[in-house]
Symmetry: D4
Subunit: 157 residues, 8 copies
């Protein structure tokens, strides 16, 4: 399975849905798990060690230890998504981003699960030329959307 | 062993020394371990499960996952000390303090390892009347220090 | 009475209810008081000195002096709960957490009164094996909840 | 005694010296005390109640409960000076400033003990025309200093 | 007129109302003005110089220059109230509080206009024993309210 | 005089020097004044009204009211430079930037007086083609510096 | 075209409308474009290079790279408007304001697009005396509004 | 070339050295470039488009637009390293991390260039089993270092 998504809580599903929608669009298979670094540390360890995913995405709020806990058990790339549960998400952001030397995590923006998925696809595309073409197409589509919006803005007011 | 102190890195020894000095003063036996939530997660798990300490003190900076990782493996009280390694210690503070519902950690002030030791002694004193007397004496000593400083201030300038 | 809960204001009752619910679940008797460090400092002093509780929980927002004021009058463990009344709760968080050397307070997360109760139970369990078993059961229940959520996630989308 | 200055710790003397220098310049008599809201709460209460000062100045860092503790025991104006001991002084600033409705404290800038003294003098000047004249003279002197600096700047480089 | 209240904008009236309610309760006469440090700097200067108030209260949000602008034109005590218009009020708080040496302003809590009024009354009470008695009565009333709330809390749940 | 630079204090000269160096390089004449929004508000008003500069640059730290005070007295563009005197310069930054609707100030980076000068030159260049050419040359020089550094980096290690 | 407004996204239109309303009021012609520094970097470059505007206004939230990207391609003055999309707008504010030496951007307040327009008008007025008169009239109107509000406040309550 | 490192300025070399040391250790070839998003936007565009690197690492401080500017021109993974030049690095952190939907960047900790290199190696290891073994060995080495430190701690004091 190319991507393994881990959520700290079932209540984080909306963030997962944004992530999944992007992965599906690119035809990237994924599995999702609920596992908490603080409530089920052993489950996190087993899950990560037993999973042959190429990339992990870990989504969590508050003292967001989950991305770091996943990274502690794998040398695969781990992408962390800080959620805004309190303090505008600054607690999660710092918990995920300020990893110690030796065990990296890749932090994306607050509540930005769709970018975690895109980053995962970018990573997978390194060994899949088809994915890379899809990414180029996705960018082109974004550019066209901006061009269309720009054209529409000409008639504002 | 009443107290188990866990440091995320050997470089955190100065904080440990402040902690140990207080524990020694109260005659509270302790053991110290170096174990990293991110570099040695299994060691943390084994250490905590194998230790019959009454209270854990976990000291860490940056994305300070250690106190939460200790708390995840025990229902004994866990005291976390956030260290100022970056960002004035705010990253460690939030990582330690913003634990999710169900798995508490007791956070003390930034770099305030002596207070972690005192809190541990206060907890142990619940079943040790001798310790409680020592705590009362410690407070009395602090009060006398303040009184002495106050008297000395009368002659300032 | 094992636990004494002090609120800075009657308007903090929702936080107290979360706290009480956990204490009741564990069969831990508690008493609750309204007392303000700034409006009724003498009441706080008398209340704390006259109370033979094993653990104090103090809940307050803004310049949350209450936990420190309680701690100033006892050598029993004091747990502080910072409430979000302004500034996302950062004012209360820092007021509670940044205690000076010599007088510790155990700070839990913002609005996290249920964790204050759990921490109190963990402390009381040091001299009550029955409580410890209940805590282990509580953790097991949390784990089962996560396992159930994880199983349910398999059928998402 | 018109002004009573209270320090949380003898180590805060540098801030006191700045304060005292201003009070002396204006010929305002003052007394200084060391008393800690957390280490010696009773001393704070007794000191404040037993002191017939017109204005209190309380100087403290970290979880700076002292100004609020002084204000809790008097209806005289209380001026708080937040010191930078940690976190650039933000902890002290918020602890002092975010007082609850009903018990005000007048917060000045971080480490700005000289302004606390000036504010005290401004308050005392309401019933002392001589002080008011001195304040006007002080302002005039500041203006002259600026004029002189401005003139000197003409020759820069 | 004992108290002069200055608002940066008519839209700040809710804060003024809280302030006025307290002043009225204490029978302290006041006048209110709308004057902006940035839109009408001359009006601020004239207003302050032409007003024989004993105390000024200046209420403003954002880059809250008003309290400092008032203080620049008088040696009477100036109390500043930071309003939360953006950034949780942190912009106003810092603009008001971080005054340079020589020109103090007394900052109260965010949106805490009632405390500004109380602080003004405390200052005026230095030369009005009647006001001081009213302040003591106000505090006693607050204490009774807390006692009543505390008694009511006994029957919670 | 095309540019008028105003400093809140003579101690801000290092920031002025960076500013002046850029203005001199572009051959833009300037005058400098020391005037404080809080200590000499009338001087600020007179200076601004009496000065026929095209652009004002105001440099200040702490509660940096100076740029706003300058802007209050002119409809010429006012550029504000926040200095780091306390709080990493965040107090000055917010005081300068969060101006109310109707009275703009152009804020540059913390301690970034050279960029204030460049922005002033960019504004003046709108009616001076020679200046615009110099700006293009300045950018070209910066680009060449980067190219040279890039070439040098090839031999690193 | 005197002013070129660039938005990072069509969803930023409300900010643009505030901006446009001010420009229209002053009779300043403007054009608007949607172009994203991250999605369409080439479009930004071409747009800026191909546009003979005197002043650019760039409006963006989050990692608001747009004002800096515009500034990178022109030596005309660039005004940046940070929008509050996350983190109260602090992310956009810092991204816009903390430009490196050599490439300035003029930052206005969070969501303060009307002030960006006014600043643009102030800049254009340097070579258009008619605009300057309109600006003076606009200020006078603001003053009259404050006077009217002040008069109305006399009858409050 | 597997990894392309881009620095915003030659003065960022110390961060690069930490990055390079890790890449060299893993035998991963890399090239380094100096290119500024604000001073040389075209160079950044050309460099990124002309480089067939698998992974980009962009290192910058202040308004750290470089990682986003690199990401705007490639669908390869881009890792951003925020440097502490001002504001403890919070400005760079937010500029890098808060990317808009559609264009991800992988942010590591403040000044944590060694982790950027490790993350790059983890990504490259997805198609290079030898690298993965080296990563496992690196982790094992870290674990042994912790074990050794833990053993040494037994003899502390």
């Amino acid at each position: 399975m190319p991507v393994c998504v881990v959520l700290g809580s079932a209540s984080d599903r909306p963030a997962y849905d944004k992530c999944r929608e992007v992965l599906d669009r690119f035809g990237v298979a994924s599995e999702v798990h609920i596992a908490s670094a603080h409530r089920t540390p052993d489950k996190v360890a087993e899950l990560v060690r037993g999973c042959d995913a190429d990339v992990f995405i870990a989504i969590a709020g508050l003292s967001a230890a989950l991305p770091g806990a996943v990274a502690a058990h794998t040398v695969k790339p781990v992408i962390g998504v800080p959620l805004n549960a309190k303090l505008e998400g600054v607690d999660a952001l710092l918990s995920i981003m300020q990893m110690p030397p030796g065990v990296p995590a890749a932090c994306v923006g607050i509540d930005r699960a769709e970018n975690a998925a895109l980053l995962a696809v970018e990573i997978l595309a390194l060994k899949d030329a088809g994915l890379r073409q899809k990414l180029e197409a996705y960018r082109a589509e974004m550019r066209q959307k901006v061009e269309k919006d720009d054209a529409a803005a000409k008639s504002w007011k």
